[in-house]
Symmetry: C2
Subunit: 376 residues, 2 copies
């Protein structure tokens, strides 16, 4: 299994609507893959809440309007914030049936006010156990952060450093939501509290954007990047039903399966894209994947020039988090890095890359491992 081409749009507050965003990302991926419409055998669209925010569902049919001549199997997949990862994961399974599969993830989040969008985001949580009790996502991750701080004696300083690193990475990514925004540690520390202990700079932004990836069963060019594994697992929808809210069971399970299938270990990974919807989740997820012991993730050197670069594109925090596009954009970043085409933000080691994408507070998780072209 290989990735033949990738493409995306700028992330941010954009004028373009869903069809334009999808079209731009697909066009970029098609150019990169050097593939014609006739050679695409199936399509998977990832989108979270186009039906709620824009009253536009059925985006899998829209593909036939965007790509004249395409009339084959096309479906839309949703798994909350893991929609993009789930779509990519599903595409890898379909490579048993097809030669080339197009995955496109899209989200238009800025057409409505923040309160409407926060409500719609909460639809990824359990209606009766969470939403009806006011547990929006900043609140859920605030509970996770509090528990983490209590258990391991880690302080908010660790989250500030993640936020700063991801913003610095985004400053090297022209397509990032916060490419032009220079951020200081002081600004982060003094940012308003959203839900204690989480502050504004602990939260990913509300972004528009799209990303596309074209997968192939066989290799067609030296630029193709091999997919070693992509695995998905689920956990209870509500965090109230879990024994331990800072060990992500779906992430643990998907990671174990992905490493087994790829026949490599966590310390073989050169760089990772980790689901930092809130800064605390970068720490918790690094630990649940197995990159370090529980409580120790803040000791890792995860800058681009560090031992183990994480979220080189700026992550959800600073690249942006257009829900349906996020998991697909993680793959575009890994491919760009593994090909050695990441310019200012290029990492040095590029043996293996890992992408980690979760839905809700961890109710679904996808872990994908890609192999680099060159071991440096």
């Amino acid at each position: 299994m290989f990735i033949r081409g990738v493409g995306r749009t700028k992330f941010g507050v954009l004028r373009e609507q869903i069809p334009q965003l999808m079209y731009e990302a697909i066009l970029n991926a098609k150019k990169d893959a050097k593939i014609s419409v006739e050679d695409i055998d199936a399509c998977i669209v990832s989108n979270f809440f186009g039906g709620t925010i824009d009253n536009q569902s059925h985006l899998n049919s829209l593909i036939a309007s965007l790509l004249p001549g395409f009339d084959k199997q096309s479906i839309r997949v949703e798994s909350a914030c893991a929609s993009g990862g789930a779509a990519f994961n599903l595409a890898t399974k379909l490579l048993n049936n097809y030669e080339n599969v197009l995955v496109v993830g899209v989200e238009k989040m800025t057409n409505r006010d923040v309160s409407t969008v926060t409500d719609a985001l909460a639809s990824a949580a359990d209606l009766r156990l969470e939403q009806d009790n006011g547990l929006t996502y900043p609140a859920a991750y605030a509970l996770i952060a509090s528990e983490y701080f209590d258990k391991y004696g880690v302080t908010h300083e660790a989250l500030d450093r993640i936020s700063l690193k991801n913003h610095e990475n985004a400053n090297k990514n022209p397509l990032a939501h916060f490419y032009h925004k220079k951020v200081t540690l002081n600004e982060i520390k003094e940012s308003p509290v959203v839900c204690s202990p989480l502050r504004l700079f602990d939260c990913s932004p509300i972004s528009d954007g799209a990303a596309a990836v074209i997968l192939s069963a066989t290799k067609s060019s030296e630029r193709d990047v091999e997919i070693l594994s992509s695995e998905m697992a689920v956990d209870t929808l509500s965090i109230t039903q879990r024994e331990d809210i800072i060990k992500m069971k779906a992430t643990e399970k998907a990671s174990k399966m992905a490493f087994n299938k790829a026949s490599i270990k966590p310390n073989d990974i050169s760089l990772a894209e980790i689901h930092d919807c809130f800064t605390i989740n970068e720490l918790v997820s690094l630990e649940s994947i197995g990159f370090c012991k529980f409580g120790k993730a803040s000791d890792l050197n995860t800058s681009i020039t560090g031992e183990f670069p994480v979220n080189t594109d700026g992550g959800l925090k600073a690249d942006g988090h257009p829900i349906g596009a996020t998991g697909v954009a993680q793959i575009t970043e890994l491919v760009t890095q593994l090909r050695g085409e990441a310019g200012d933000r290029q990492v040095k080691k590029r043996a293996y890359g890992l992408a980690h994408n979760i839905g809700g507070s961890g109710g679904s998780a996808v872990v994908t491992i890609l192999k680099g072209n060159i071991y440096v």
Copy 2:
């Protein structure tokens, strides 16, 4: 590929909410399949607008809450009114990877007023080209009916007979939305106009319900029903972009592929479940699938005791149309008939069954062909 078990809930205006509906359908399918949770390798949830109507997305994660012990790949699929068919179709593709796949379709439609639901249903149509111009679904299918009447000289009488037949079939299906409702031809003819030429009895109702199917790669019992093919195709999202609005291109393409793969012809089919969201669509679809020449579908004898029974469960018209469940329920009816377990509504010939499920005004279509256990 085989269907090992099926199950569903009553369709109608129900007190149960999404989780209860899903649970009941899954439990019934699990009992029918005699399978334990540990043996289910993956799950696909079909749902159209839980996010919009109930602010409940991420139903694939909910599976882990409903079925303690299940933590494997689980995704939600949406393709408007073809969501159920698309989920089933996808499950057949995943049987290259897994032994047993659970498909569950669900929709809760009666929690909100009819106008809100009509708006939400319109999200399956193109936002700019259709919705912004007021083209709701009754209006789109009224255009299709007008064009059909004009072209072939067929009158509304043909639609009345479809409505009557489907209501009579539903009277033999205890789980149907209109099981207890006795309908006369006069009542149908005199029912209020919804969008000319379509009257109330041309429109499928707003129903709650769920249906589940368990597919297996290999045969495990004599009651298993073989899946010969399941194919999906798409067409432009908007009917304004189509050359001919009464020939359904996605249906034509999916049908051709499905018949090719099954190595049988339309006149080999003993019974069919056809997507009659509006009565006119039963005619148009029968023709696009290839069961007769264009303009001639109303000449077919499609009653349960007729030459070619169609919609033996009452169809979307009278069994009900809980969007995400519909395409899955079509499969449960075919399996029940092909096993010879349909009681009062049992058809005589049961060589091959066909299910046809479309999204929107035909922007997506799924056609599935099953093989009966006994050729009579």
